[in-house]
């Protein structure tokens, strides 16, 4: 069956009354779940499994897929408005989204996020439609040495996440690495830094860390600086993007959608890593990197287009190989098995209605999400008009319930508070929190793939250099690490003045 024929039959499924209804339910549920910290798409889909039992498998999958990419869409709202990311994929969005909201440009930030998400999602579906079987080869081309090299490349961007002192960024990253090692080490089965506490055996959840460092720290400083003049933070501003804005974000959305999609295709990498890498690479490419972190519109567009593109990319290994690249797609795979469908290399031939139905539904789902989200922006952003004392308490409640929802354990709440305190102290002494998060995300995977590679090669480091993809990535990593150092040295020689912090 050729692509167009397949896609047409897919639209037949997706545009049926039931199809449309389930896509609509899926994306609506997904959007709301994405907005609320702690309630992730995994939980939502797992709870849906018994409901979908006995349903037409194509419809069941398009419902679950709707929840999945809908959540990537919705996560941006709470990141931008409250600095409390609803999903880990939306953490990078808060870097510039929240400053924009503080400057009274919440409407614009939300609109940018929605539009970037729409294009990111749509571009990735187009790739998925035409290139899925080809890209399946890309998905399995990454072994442990390649993953290590990719993570290393991501890490070299650390310095670009610091606003000022690189040393402080590195210290902060080191803390992130240390936190990433907590839990059972999967290569030896040894518990590390758990202090005999069962709650720490599976490590620390990314959202606990992010909500503590961002949301709670922000709330704390809001409370402490409450006497100061508020500024424009409770105005929403215009929703409209000017021509200039469009001009600015178009190339960003274009390239970061491609990047996001490729990262999404790689099993295990996923939307969180994609959004971070998108943010960092956009900052590196920018002519005015100083604007980033202070409300740059490209800083919102980049992670949002990347994380939505990644959620489309994640369907490549799932649908064409039967390999779930993330926790959420693993749950979807389980759900499909219950329905008598085993996703795998034969899915496209055996169940074209499922394969093409899902792809077609994603086109429709993305349009629905845009139509659903844009008119909602004025209402959602009214949350900023809630009086400051109420809003801060609301954010705290949000964080606490969200974190409790991850593991249903009070232990995580104390961890959250701990990270909140850490985050506030880091703010006081001007340590950037984002390098810590980046190191946490990349560090765990980097360590594991490094050690897997060494086990496979019986301890020989040559495995990283005899392997072409890994070798190229490592060279890029070193180059992007060394070039800025030379640049600074040159600039220092010229200016010969101490830079004020």
């Amino acid at each position: 069956m050729d692509v167009f024929h397949g896609l047409l039959s897919g639209f037949e499924v997706a545009l049926s009354l039931h199809g449309l209804l389930f896509v609509l339910i899926g994306v609506t549920v997904g959007t709301f779940i994405g907005m609320i910290p702690g309630l992730g798409p995994i939980t939502a889909i797992a709870v849906m499994i018994p409901i979908t039992y006995g349903m037409d498998p194509a419809l069941a999958l398009l419902l679950m897929a709707g929840v999945y990419y809908g959540a990537a869409y919705g996560g941006a709202s709470s990141s931008i408005l409250l600095n409390a990311p609803g999903t880990s994929e939306a953490v990078a969005t808060s870097f510039d989204g929240y400053p924009m909201a503080k400057q009274g440009k919440a409407g614009k930030a939300l609109a940018t996020a929605a539009i970037a998400s729409f294009f990111g999602g749509t571009i990735s579906i187009i790739f998925l439609t035409f290139l899925a079987p080809t890209l399946a080869k890309v998905a399995i081309s990454f072994g442990p040495p390649e993953y290590f090299a990719l993570m290393l490349m991501g890490l070299t961007a650390l310095s670009s996440l610091s606003d000022g002192s690189t040393i402080k960024a590195l210290i902060s990253a080191t803390i992130g690495f240390m936190i990433a090692t907590v839990g059972i080490d999967s290569q030896t089965g040894t518990p590390r830094f758990t202090f005999g506490n069962a709650h720490l055996l599976e490590g620390i959840d990314f959202l606990v860390l992010a909500l503590g460092l961002f949301a709670l720290a922000e709330v704390t400083s809001l409370i402490i600086t409450r006497k100061e003049k508020v500024g424009k933070s409770n105005t929403i501003g215009s929703l409209k993007l000017t021509k200039n804005d469009f001009k600015e974000i178009t190339p960003t959305v274009g390239r970061q959608s491609v990047l996001g999609f490729v990262i999404g295709v790689l099993p295990g990498a996923g939307g969180t890593i994609a959004s971070f890498l998108a943010y960092i690479s956009e900052k590196k490419l920018s002519k005015n990197p100083d604007e980033f972190g202070k409300g740059a519109i490209r800083g919102v567009a980049a992670p949002e287009s990347a994380n939505n593109a990644a959620s489309g990319g994640a369907f490549v290994p799932l649908l064409s190989l039967g390999i779930p690249g993330s926790g959420t797609t693993a749950v979807m795979l389980g759900a499909l098995m219950v329905l008598g469908i085993q996703p795998g290399p034969l899915l496209m031939g055996d169940h074209p209605d499922v394969f093409w139905g899902v792809i077609a539904s994603m086109y429709i789902g993305n349009i629905l999400l845009l139509v659903l989200n844009l008119p909602l922006i004025p209402y959602i952003s009214k949350v900023l008009k809630v009086p400051r004392p109420l809003l801060t308490s609301l954010v705290i409640v949000f964080c606490l319930i969200g974190v409790y929802g991850i593991s249903f354990s009070t232990f995580d709440l104390f961890l959250l508070l701990g990270f909140g305190v850490l985050g506030y102290i880091m703010r006081l002494v001007h340590f950037p929190a984002s390098p810590l998060l980046l190191a946490f995300i990349l560090g765990g995977m980097m360590e594991q793939s490094f050690r897997q590679a060494l086990t496979i090669s019986n301890g020989s480091l040559s495995i990283f250099f005899t392997n072409p993809i890994a070798c190229v990535l490592i060279i890029i990593a070193f180059a992007s690490f060394l070039v800025p150092i030379f640049k600074t040295l040159r600039r220092k020689a010229k200016v010969d003045q101490s830079v004020d912090m």
Binding site: I42, A46, I49, I140, L201, P267, V383, V386, I401, T455
Partner: protein
Amino acid sequence: MKKIAAILLLVFVMVISAACSSSSSSGKPEKTTKSNGEWQPEKAIEITAPSGAGGGWDTTARMAAKVLSENKIIDQNIGVVNKPGGGGAVGWAYIHSKKADPYKLFITSPPMLLVPLNGQSQFDYKDFTPIANVIADYAAFAVKADAKWNNLNELFADMKKDPSKITIVGASSPGSMDHIQFVKIAKAAGIDITKIKYVSDQDGGALTQILNGSADVYSTGVAETVEQVKAGKIKVLGVTSEERLKGDVLSDFPTAKEQGIDATFVNWRGFFGPPDMDKNAIAYYEKKFKELSDSAEWDEIRQKYGWDEMYMNSSEYKEFLKKENNEIKTLLEELGLAK
């Protein structure tokens, strides 16, 4: 303005209560034993899956709960609660605190033996009440379709020659199921198990490593291999069941036993209760899980997941666990992993 705050709050409360509704049935154990020694549940029953949503435990528990209520095998509501953490240890600690409460069951499988033996849980299977086992699943060892080995004996012969050349990959850490199931068979084949090169890779990475040739042997569950075998991407060298499995591709997989390796590995899954459960309550649940196991709906679910039927009542279950535990303990001690 206030209206919007109110709406927000309402939505929020709704979502939260939906998320937590399944954990609402708490309270002290009640004496509900009738004079004739029969026990009937008088309120909602809670089944804990000591893992996150979507895993094997969670799926089995939710499916069992569904069939138990839809077939009216049990008239009370049955909620499934997730208590993730510590590979099960957090959930077990929770159940352990509900001594003798006949309304708190949990689903479990070999990690119930492995995690405590690895020293990662203070409670082991003896601290709980095994009620009934319901299903069995088996391990499969697969290699890339064009690999040079065609059966386990060829693989093990090469491993004996040079263990450093062959990498085994699984989704869980050393000392846990994917590792131990391979070790158990390898030991029976005469391999020095301390020399086995094992890497763990989660999130689908293990299968990827086989397909791209980073690792050589994939230690996993039987169900995970079927589609890949059908598509001609991998081949299964051996499965760990006693006899050949039934089913369309499954019956082609040779067992380790028929290849002259005298060992099996069962991924059993069943239901436990808290410590000191009343014997009448145990008898009640044994009967109900037997009904579940015999129902046509459960049979359909078993087939969809490729599970085998394996019902054991409480006393058979205890015996079985004791034997399994000893075998695993010996292996872990030899590997230096036992605590």
